[in-house]
Amino acid sequence: MLDFFDVFLVQQLLNGLAQGLVYALIAIGFTLIFGVLNVVNFAHGEIYMLGAFAGLLAIQVLAPPAFAVLLLVAAAGLVLGVLLERVAFRPFRRFNDEASLKSKALREATLLSSLAISIITRELMQLYVGADMQSIPQAYLLMTPIQLGPLSIASGQVLIFVTALLMFVLLQWLLFRTRLGLSIRAVSNNRLGALHVGINVNHIIIATFAIGSLMGAVSGIVVGLYSGNIFPQMGFSPGIKAFVAMVMGGLDSIPGAVISAIVLGLCEALSTDFVSQGWSELISYALLLITLLYFPRGLFGKKVERV
């Protein structure tokens, strides 16, 4: 038994925490968009993938310092978010009457249009850049080992931790301390009401997409450089995990999604250690199932204010 509490277990916990933060990074932007629009944006995983490719393109063409890569990717994410909203969501937002806002058909239509955009984007990328993984210049790879005694973490894990923390704090500040945040929360709470008090709902929705996608794109390049994998299908699997984290967290609670994502990552690493990697996904989905059975509104659905 004592063997379990060895250095390898601590290393395993570190691995799990890093993996959970990867899911959390994607889940933050994902949950923000859901919280405001009350509709799942299935193209978030593709924004993440496009962010990684935008970063790789910047590296290959300009070879800028790493910090500039992040800024360029953030800008690309912003533009992609606005585009995504224009193509997949705006066409279904023509009516502002109460019946349309509550219409399930309209919600499902945007869900499917974002799914369609996600598939088209992925396949087009595959057509133009190929399905192969892209090789990343060694200088940019965030895999420099940092030794902590017998433990080893990668420089990318530190960056992921810092990015996730920064995104989380900035978003909480934006939502609860700024005028834009107030408007976002108002739209998320009651779109019709927000419209009546003179908030430009369209602008707020576009801004939400831009912020959420910026975060998605930045996570894409950070994770891409840390894992050494950039390829058109890369957004799919972590996108699903972020979705699970969002549902477990209560759909519109960002702290809930972050905590659930970290729990998922830790569970995966520990189930790999004690059972086998083949079981880790089963355990993630079992956790989701248990949550939904016993906490139908998610772990943090009720306790936390919307958004």
Binding site: D6, M143, S152, S276
Partner: protein, 372 residues
């Protein structure tokens, strides 16, 4: 009334004769099913490139009876593979089928070909059960029942006693790791861990940490090069310094490009070496590179040979007059067919191919032949 029915009769006769005429006019075809899109698209596209190369070479020397290849995209999905198998079986211009890529899809489609009596030759399916489906299944790749023991002997010869095995969790990966582990134990070695991961996994740190705890002398990998590249990088980052051996599926230039210094020292067995001095390999590498601007991998070599074996069987079975059964029998009679992945002979009873393996090691960013 009488006139009308005679008119109908004439129409039916005309329809039938035009049908048989069109059947004569259709060129003989090979059906090629492979993942052209989806997660394994890069393999399917290499197969298509290599097959087109082999086909063009064949059609240049057989201008009187040209053959065409009909490609179908299985997306690496067994369900798609089965519907392609139905489509190919119904297409009477097709006298033989090549594909699919993975054993899972090949076996699913193979069950259809077994019923419709259409010969199927897979360039890569190495699961032992594949050729056991029916007498209509063939493959020109050595199976894990051969490669596993070969690698196990290789590792024990290098005085390594404890090996951890990491494999991909699919039909192929499971047989590859089990065959290896069994023969390594038979050779007196100890398997410290037998780990497998779900396809699509990108983070191998948890598995590597688990493997590190068992303190192996070496790690044996039965997986595809892309997973291998990520795993090797993460292994380097975790500071796990043990030698790595891999199955032939990792032999790919891209492995070195992706993994960089992390790939140094990895040892791999293979049937095909692009740097081989054999004149036919050199000719293939040269034309492939001229046409597609990339060095052919083992997968391209496998597909090139499979296509040539199939074309050879069609020619022997009567070219444009070849029947499906004649093609199958000509395939079964394939003996010492000279290919870029070595000579292929199908065992008359098991239809398993006999081939040779060679040893490679990654040194200074390139694959080099090694003796041990």
């Amino acid at each position: 009334m009488f006139a009308a029915s005679q008119y109908h009769k004439a129409l039916i006769v005309a329809a039938f004769s035009s049908l048989s005429l069109s059947a004569l006019a259709t060129p003989v075809a090979i059906g090629y099913q492979a993942p052209l899109t989806g997660e394994y698209a890069q393999y399917g596209n290499q197969f298509r490139n290599a097959a087109n190369l082999a086909l063009d070479e064949y059609n240049q020397t057989h201008k009187a009876a040209p053959v065409v290849i009909k490609f179908a995209d299985s997306k690496g999905d067994a369900l798609e593979g089965v519907s392609i198998a139905h489509k190919f079986s119904d297409d009477h211009s097709i006298v033989g089928v090549i594909g699919d890529f993975s054993s899972t899809v090949s076996i699913a489609a193979g069950k259809v070909y077994a019923e419709t009596h259409l010969a199927q030759l897979s360039q890569t399916a190495s699961h032992p059960d594949f050729v056991k489906i029916s007498p209509w299944q063939f493959r020109n790749i050595i199976t894990e029942a051969f490669e596993g023991p070969y690698n196990a002997r290789w590792i024990s010869q290098n005085n390594i006693k404890k090996v951890a095995v990491i494999s991909i969790q699919n039909d192929w990966g499971q047989t590859a790791s089990k065959n290896f582990a069994k023969s390594f134990k038979d050779a007196g070695g100890e398997v410290t861990a037998l780990e497998s991961f779900n396809p699509g996994t990108r983070d191998f740190r948890a598995i590597l940490t688990k493997v590190a705890r068992t303190r192996p002398d070496a790690i044996y990998l039965a997986l595809m090069y892309e997973d291998g590249a990520a795993l090797l990088q993460q292994k380097l980052q975790l500071g796990l310094n043990v030698p790595v051996y891999g199955s032939s599926s990792m032999y790919e230039k891209k492995l070195i490009q992706l993994a960089g210094p992390a790939a140094e020292g990895v040892k791999i067995s293979t049937t095909f070496t692009a740097s081989s001095k054999e004149p036919n390999v050199q000719a293939f590498v040269k034309t492939y590179q001229a046409r597609y601007h990339v060095e052919p991998s083992m997968f391209a070599g496998q597909a090139y040979d499979a296509t040539r074996i199939m074309l050879n069987a069609i020619a022997k079975a009567g070219g444009e007059k070849a029947s499906r059964e004649a093609v199958r029998n000509a395939l079964a009679a394939t003996k010492d067919f000279p290919g870029v992945t070595g000579n292929t002979t199908f065992d008359p009873v098991t239809r398993e191919p006999a081939k040779n393996l060679s040893r490679l090691q990654i040194r200074n960013g390139d694959f080099t032949s090694v003796a041990n």
